[in-house]
């Protein structure tokens, strides 16, 4: 069952990603991207990371993709399609993709032993009892103790982005 769900979500992720770059219509691309993100959320769920699952959906689908669609609807796409396109650089793209792919493959073979999927305790899975004691608490603990500095740096970065977008959008403050 677990393997089946994994492959189902993997198909969603990859199929969505391929459709995102091949569809002509921008809205169709956005929808394919949503499908892909749903697949990623499903993979989180399979890894017993239900907090990440919910946050992935709330933030990416509910926030970012809604804004994407909002912008796509406002922009006149027929005009934009006639402009000079920047997607003809397939040679550079191919090189980049190969290098990144080789890197990922190398690290995966090197650290094959370290890569472990979350295991469902067999007894708990049989009785159907809730397994994980608290994914939310675990993330909060790690985020606010071990990784506090990166967390704060990231929030400052976001603040800079917010202030910057306000400055750029508003002519007179």
């Amino acid at each position: 069952m677990e393997t089946f769900s994994f492959y189902a979500f993997a198909v969603l992720v990859l199929g969505g990603a391929i459709l995102t770059i091949t569809r002509r219509s921008a809205v169709h691309s956005a929808i394919s991207l949503i499908v892909s993100l749903v697949g990623v959320a499903g993979l989180y769920l399979l890894q017993q990371a239900e907090f990440l699952f919910a946050v992935q959906i709330v933030l990416y689908i509910g926030g970012i993709m809604v804004l994407f669609l909002f912008v796509i609807m406002l922009v006149n796409l027929d005009e934009a399609a006639k402009e000079r396109q920047f997607n003809g650089q397939w040679l550079i793209a191919l090189i980049c993709a190969t290098v990144v792919g080789l890197q990922v493959a190398w690290f995966m073979t090197k650290g094959a032993g370290a890569l472990k999927l979350a295991q469902v305790p067999v007894a708990a899975a049989q009785t159907g009892a809730p397994v994980s004691p608290g994914n939310v608490e675990a993330i909060a603990d790690v985020l606010f103790s071990e990784y506090l500095l990166p967390f704060e740096v990231a929030s400052v970065l976001l603040l800079v982005a917010v202030v910057g977008s306000v400055v750029m959008a508003k002519k007179r403050i």
Binding site: S25, V27, H28, I31, I34, E50, F51, F53, A54, V55, I57, V58, I61, G62, G63, M65, V66, L67, L69, F70, M73, L74, T127, G128, P130, S132, G134, N135, V136
Partner: protein
């Protein structure tokens, strides 16, 4: 047979079947109540023809919607047009999965329950946007744009209100939130020295905006946008949007009830002597009383068939009071009664809003969202944290 009843999946699966089967009917009757209550506010009668006092109107409406021709505009994006209402309905009904109807009655108790509801309402926006866009017509597109902006803005305020509530509860699980109130013998609306009323008001206002209800119904403002994002929809697809809207109303009311008003707990859950009057007396009084008072109306009806229908409905209503008199059954269903009773109060309040407030202008809507609701929500998170620490120390 025993093994079937004791299977861990038996209760969830039967709950799912019951919810999906019953909710469309319930939504139809919420619409009837809405029409009747609004009619009463405006000193008119509302639906009166189908059944006594319009009691069978929802069934007639549902039949009409099912049989109506399904029109798809020629220039629309067919696939998305076909799929958009499905997204709305699917997400709205999925959110029911984590609602705790009573201590035992719930499809699932997930430990990120509130987040699941937030996630589902976030995905539900897509149904509206895509439906509006794929119609390929001006009014739906404008409605969809408004709705995207409105829902994204008010979701922030909604989250801040929820965070305040969750900080008091200390858990994200819907069942856990009610159990925390049970342990502390207090509904969270009265917690933190009564300050929780502030996040509750923020929640109520943002939830009204999230469900596209008047006075925030700009996405479907009929006086300017015909019918907003669902202008081009008809028949069954339109009914799906409608079902989703009422399911969302039910869900946001349930979250308010669970987080702030004690879920399935009765008022004063720790005071033992109130057990009899509140848990037995009140439901019996409500059902017997409403049944008996509708018997008075029978004489005023002229048509004998309508008279018989109303008598039947009245006795049905009185019959519901009987299970509450049997102690064993009462213990099993009283949680459900309190939960649905509180949700009904919230649904009534939302109808009341619709009957009372005129629709906001678009700039007013955005000002309320960004300049009033979000700052108040943020401030109430901070104040709540301080009060919570003060209370705990």
């Amino acid at each position: 047979m025993e093994t079937v009843f004791n299977h861990p999946l038996f209760l969830p699966v039967s709950m799912i079947v019951v919810i999906i089967a019953v909710f469309p009917l319930l939504a139809g009757y919420i619409v009837l109540i809405e029409r009747k209550v609004l009619a009463d506010f405006q000193v008119r009668l509302g639906p009166m023809r189908v059944g006594p006092h319009g009691l069978l109107q929802p069934i007639a409406d549902a039949l009409k919607l099912l049989l109506k021709e399904d029109i798809i505009p020629a220039d629309s994006d067919k696939g998305i047009f076909w799929f958009a209402p499905v997204i709305s309905t699917f997400t709205a009904l999925t959110a029911f999965a984590v609602i705790p109807f009573s201590e035992k009655l719930a499809v699932a108790d997930v430990n990120v329950g509130v987040l699941v509801i937030m996630a589902m309402s976030a995905v539900g926006i897509l149904g509206i946007i895509l439906g509006g866009w794929s119609s390929n017509s001006h009014y739906p597109l404008l409605g969809a744009l408004r709705s995207a902006a409105q829902l994204v803005s008010y979701e922030v305020a909604l989250s801040f209100a929820l965070i305040s509530g969750l900080m008091v509860a200390g858990t994200l699980s819907m069942q856990g939130i009610v159990k925390a109130q049970q342990d502390r013998h207090i509904w969270f609306i009265f917690e933190n020295y009564g300050f929780m009323i502030v996040p509750f008001v923020v929640y109520l206002i943002s939830a009204t905006a999230e469900t596209n209800r008047a006075p925030f119904d700009l996405p479907e403002a009929e006086s300017e946008l015909v019918a907003g994002f669902h202008t081009e929809y008809s028949g069954f697809r339109w009914a799906l949007y409608f079902l989703a809207e009422y399911a969302n109303i039910f869900v946001v009311s349930s979250v308010a009830v669970t987080l702030f008003w004690g879920g399935w707990l009765r008022p004063f859950p720790a005071v033992a002597w109130l057990e009899m009057p509140l848990n037995v007396g009140l439901p019996v009084l409500i059902f017997l009383g409403s049944g008996a008072s509708s018997l008075i109306l029978v004489k005023k009806l002229k048509d004998p068939v309508q008279q018989k229908t109303l008598v039947g409905a009245a006795f049905l209503c009185m019959g519901v009071a009987v299970p509450f008199l049997i102690p064993a059954v009462n213990a099993a269903i009283i949680g459900l009664f309190w939960f649905l009773f509180k949700v009904a109060v919230f649904v009534y309040i939302m109808i009341w809003f619709r009957g009372t407030f005129p629709r906001f202008r678009y700039d007013q809507l955005m000002n309320i969202g960004w300049k009033i609701m979000i700052p108040i929500g943020m401030a109430s998170v901070v104040v709540n944290a301080l009060l919570g620490m003060l209370r705990a120390s």
